[in-house]
Amino acid sequence: MKLNNLIVFLAEDDEDDRWLFEQALTDLKIKTELSMFKNGKEMMDYLKKTDTIVPHIVFLDLNMPIKNGMECLKEMKEDENLKKIPVAIYSTSSSEKDIENTFISGANVYINKPNNFSALKKVVEKVLQLNWQYQTSNLNKENFLFRI
């Protein structure tokens, strides 16, 4: 049985973090197609183009120049075409307030950036698995809420 590649977007301003994320995805058994953006604006502009294939999930860093993760999240949730895309926040902040605010604004997963590569791989894999189950099984998407 063949599973299609999962389409994944990442908005992250730090070059090293982008590279690590990409390496982590390549190492997973789950096959993915990754598009990366240097800030929120780049990603939003791309998402809003009509011929863009809608990703299965987007990962958003919170602190980014020009347009930060929170602004992207809110913009996505207000857009009819984009509001259904699951959002994983990917941040170094572990402030309870940040976490709560992103969830209330519609984020599905909050990830504290792990500090080593093998933890990163595990985390990303877990998020992709969860997301897949929420897309394909009879689970309530309103309650798709995880902190990892």
Partner: protein
């Protein structure tokens, strides 16, 4: 000399199907939805032969059996979680009894087709049920724990926290605030 032809593709395709199916010498019926029903199960050899001979005409036999079985596994798990008596069984024996396949087969098929294991799915499904009850009913955690056969509230909260990263109380608070936030905007 030249002649011109037009096709009625439905008739053409049905004629090809019938021609190939008749070779098998079995009873069958072609349904409207491009579905072929056999009165008796085909042998593996017959199935393979049919697939090969149809391929020449660009007709693909779709292997939906596996996808369907995965769906049946999920459905059976749902049933099991909502059924008080079934809750007493082990998932593995319940599934193999109900679906009449070995658990090893089911478990491999499931992992192959869904990126995750049956065990993980069961936990996820159970937590989803807990979330549903927290978000939409006034049941207390004690009542939810009892209903879902957790040995104690502590066990329920512990599993909930382990899987979702949130305590049931925080989850409930977030869901309420989210609803308020949405209705404020509307």
């Amino acid at each position: 000399m030249k002649i011109y032809v037009t096709f009625n593709l439905d008739i053409t395709c049905n004629a090809i199907l019938e021609e190939q199916l008749n070779k098998l010498d079995v009873q069958y019926a072609i349904n409207g939805a491009r579905e072929i029903v056999f009165t008796k199960k085909l042998t593996e050899q017959q199935q393979l032969g049919l697939t090969t001979s149809l391929k020449k005409y660009g007709v693909e036999v779709i292997d939906n059996q596996k996808t369907e079985l995965i769906q049946r596994i999920k459905d059976t798990i749902n049933e099991m979680l909502k059924d008080d008596e079934a809750n007493l069984y082990k998932v593995s024996s319940y599934l193999s009894d109900k679906l009449d396949y070995s658990y090893t087969y089911l478990s491999n098929l499931f992992s192959e087709g869904t990126y995750t294991s049956i065990e993980n799915f069961v936990i996820l499904k159970k937590v989803d049920y807990v979330k549903e009850l927290i978000a939409t009913t006034d049941l207390s955690l004690t009542e939810i724990a009892f209903r879902l056969k957790y040995s104690s509230v502590a066990h329920l909260s512990g599993q909930f926290k382990k899987i979702t990263g949130l305590t049931p109380t925080v989850f409930q608070k977030i869901i309420e605030k989210r609803k308020a936030f949405k209705s404020n905007k509307a």
